[in-house]
C-alpha cells in the first residue's frame, strides 16, 4: 500500500507539471488558436535563471525569483509585440497551420539557444521554496516541492477554468478564439487578450519551473520535452479546456509512475507514449478536436 501511495505522490508531482503546461497551452490556444510550444522553455528560463542569479550572481532568493520572472515576462511581451503583432494584427507572414505551430517553435529554438549561450550546459536547480526533508507518514514519503507543485497545479487549473467560465473578461478572451473579426466588431481587443494571456501563462510556467526544479533539475534543453508533454495533456482537453488539461496531465503523470513501478522501469515511458498514441489513433474523438485550420 505504501509503495502505491509513494508512486501516486511521485506521479502526481510530475503530472502536476504536465498538467499546468497543458493548461497554459490550452488557455492561450483558446484565445488565439496558436499552440505555445515555448511554454517548457519559459519554465526552463525561470528555473535556470533563478538558479544562476542566486547561486552564481549572488542575489537573494526572492530577488532572484523576481528578476527571473521579470525577464520571462519581458521576453514574452517582446515576442508578442514584435512577432505575434506583425503576424496576427498586421497580417504579415504565414497563417493557417503554419501559424499554429511554427511561430512559437521558432521562439522555443531561440530561447534554447540563448540559454545555452548564457548558462552553458550544466544542470541547474533553484533553491527550494519550502526547504526541508521529505514529509513522511509511516512509509509514505512526499517531497515538499512535489506537494507545492501538486497544490499549485490544482489551484492554477481551477483559477484558469473559473476565469474562462465565470468572468466577462474570460468570456471575451474565449470569443477572440472563436472569431477574431466577430470579437473586434463587438469591441473586444483580441490583441490585448492574446498578449496578456501569453505573458500570464509564460509567468505561470516559469513559476512552476522554479518550484519544481529542486526535484529534477533543468538544463538549457529541458524545454521542448516539457512542452511536448504539455501539448499531449492539452490535446486530451481539446486544446481549449485548462481544467481538463490539468486532470489529463495528472493522469499521465500517475500512469507514468505506475507503469514504472509495477511494469518496467526501463520501458515506462515507452509504454506510456504507446498507450497515449493508441488512444489517439483508435479513439480520436476523445480529444474532441475539429478539422485543422486551413
Amino acid at each position: 500500500m505504501s509503495e502505491f501511495l509513494n508512486l501516486l505522490a511521485a506521479g502526481l508531482t510530475s503530472g502536476g507539471i504536465y498538467g499546468i503546461f497543458g493548461a497554459c497551452l490550452a488557455v492561450w490556444f483558446r484565445v488565439c488558436n496558436v499552440l505555445n510550444l515555448a511554454v517548457g522553455d519559459f519554465a526552463m528560463l525561470g528555473a535556470v535563471g533563478t538558479a544562476w542569479l542566486t547561486q552564481t550572481a549572488g542575489l537573494p532568493f526572492g530577488a532572484g525569483i523576481a528578476v527571473a520572472l521579470a525577464g520571462v515576462g519581458l521576453v514574452a511581451w517582446l515576442f508578442d509585440r514584435v512577432v505575434l503583432h506583425l503576424a496576427f494584427d498586421r497580417g504579415a507572414g504565414a497563417h493557417g497551420i503554419v501559424s499554429v505551430f511554427f511561430y512559437t517553435f521558432g521562439l522555443s529554438l531561440l530561447l534554447e539557444g540563448a540559454a545555452r549561450a548564457m548558462f552553458g550546459t550544466d544542470v541547474f536547480g533553484a533553491p527550494a521554496i519550502w526547504p526541508g526533508p521529505a514529509l513522511a507518514v509511516a512509509d509514505f514519503h512526499v517531497q515538499r516541492a512535489g506537494l507545492l507543485v501538486i497544490a499549485l497545479a490544482i489551484v492554477s487549473g481551477l483559477l484558469l477554468w473559473a476565469y474562462l467560465r465565470f468572468t466577462v473578461s474570460g468570456r471575451a478572451a474565449s470569443a477572440c478564439g472563436e472569431s477574431v473579426l466577430g470579437s473586434r466588431i463587438v469591441g473586444i481587443d483580441s490583441a490585448k487578450f492574446r498578449r496578456r494571456i501569453f505573458i500570464v501563462t509564460a509567468l505561470l510556467a516559469a513559476l512552476f519551473g522554479i518550484v519544481e526544479s529542486p526535484i529534477t533539475g533543468y538544463t538549457y534543453a529541458s524545454g521542448p520535452t516539457l512542452s511536448l508533454i504539455g501539448v499531449v495533456a492539452a490535446g486530451f482537453a481539446a486544446f481549449r479546456q485548462p481544467g481538463r488539461a490539468v486532470a489529463a496531465g495528472l493522469a499521465i503523470g500517475v500512469a507514468e509512475a505506475m507503469l514504472g513501478g509495477y511494469v518496467s522501469t526501463s520501458y515506462s515511458d515507452v509504454l506510456l507514449y504507446a498507450i497515449l498514441f493508441c488512444i489517439i489513433i483508435v479513439r480520436p474523438e476523445v480529444l474532441g478536436l475539429g478539422p485543422e485550420p486551413a
Binding site: V98, Y103, A114, A117, L228, V232, F277, I280, L287, L289
Partner: protein, 383 residues
Amino acid sequence: MNRPGVSRPGVSRPGVSRPGAKRDPVPLGAAAGITVAGGLVLAAMNGSYLGLTVTTGVAYAVVTVGMVLQLGYSRQLAFSQSVFMGVGAYGTGVLETRYGFGSLESLLAVIALAAAASLLIGAVITRAPGLALALATLLLPLFIYQLATDSGWLGSFSGINGVLPFWSGPDYEATLVRSGIVSVLLLGLAAGVVLRVMRSGIGLQLMAMAEDERLGESIGVSLRQRRLEVFVLGSVLAAVGGAVLASTQGLVTPDVLSESAEITLLLMVFVAGRKSVAGAISGAVVIEYLTTSTSFISTNLGIIEGIVLLLILLIEPDGVAGAVDRLLGHRTDQWAASLRAWSAARLQARAHSTPESAERELAAPGHGTRDVEARGGGDGGGS
C-alpha cells in the same frame, strides 16, 4: 451514383493520362539533372570531408523532398519523418549486420518494410481529424526513440556499427564517391516521383484538399485515400533517406530518431521553402553543411535557427525558394513583356511595309531593341 474519386464515362479524371496527351518532361528531366549534377559535384569533391557532408545532406534531402509533398503541398500535419528515417536506418543496419543482407537487398527490404508499416499506421492515423494527426505523430518519435535507446538488440545508445556502403571502392575516398553517386540517383528518383505527383491531376486534388477539404470532397476527391497515399509516400521517402544516411556514415545511432532530428528536418523544409522540391534539396544540403562545418554556427545553432525561422515566417512564408521564385518570376514577366512588345512592333512594321523594306529593316543591326525601347517594353516597361 458515382463513388468519390471515380470518374463518370466521358468525363476526364485528373491524374489519368488521356490518349495522345503529351508526357510531362519535368519530373524525368529533374531526376536526370539532379543525378548528373549531383554525381559530378561529388566526383569533383573526390571523397573529401566536404563530400561526406554533401552526401549526408543528400540523405536528408531525400526526406525533405517527401516533406514538401506532405507538409508543404498537401499540408498534412504529420511529424513522423524522423521515425521513418529511423526505420530506414535501423532496418538497413539490422538486415546487413545481423542477417547478412547486401546493400541493395536491404534497401529494397527497407522500402517494403516502410511501405507496409506506414500503410498500417497511416490507415489508422490518417483517420484522426486535424490536430489529432499532429498529436499522434508528435508522440511517435518520443516512444520510438526510448525504445531504440532501451533496446540492446538495436545497440542501445551506441547504435549499430558496420553498415555497408551502397557501392564499395578500392579505398575510402572512392567508396564515398561511389556511394554518393548512388545516393544522388536515389534523390533524383525521389524528386522525380514527387514532382510527377505534384504536377499530375492527383497533385491538383491534393492542392484542393490543402486549401479546403470540403472543396476537395465536393469535386469528388477521396480524402482518406489521398491522405493515406501522401502519408505512405512521405514515409517511404523518409525511410530511403534513413538508409542513405546509414550507408553514408557506416553506422546508425538513436539520434536519427530524436526530436532534434525532426526539428532539423522541419527547419530544412521551412527555411528553404516548404513548397519547392529544389528548395528542400538545397536547404538540406546547405543547412547540413552550415551546421557541421563552422564552429560558430554549431555553437549558436539554436539562436540562428530561431531567428532565421521567425524571419522566414514573417517575411517570406514560402522560404528562400519562394523569394527566389518571386524574383525570377518578376524578371521572367519583364522578359516576357519585352518579347511581346518586340513581336508586336515587328508585326506592325511588317504590316506597314513592303516585303523588300521589311527585309531591310529586319537585317538592320539593333532593330528589335530600338523598337522595344521606343514602345516602353524594356526593363521595367511593364506589360
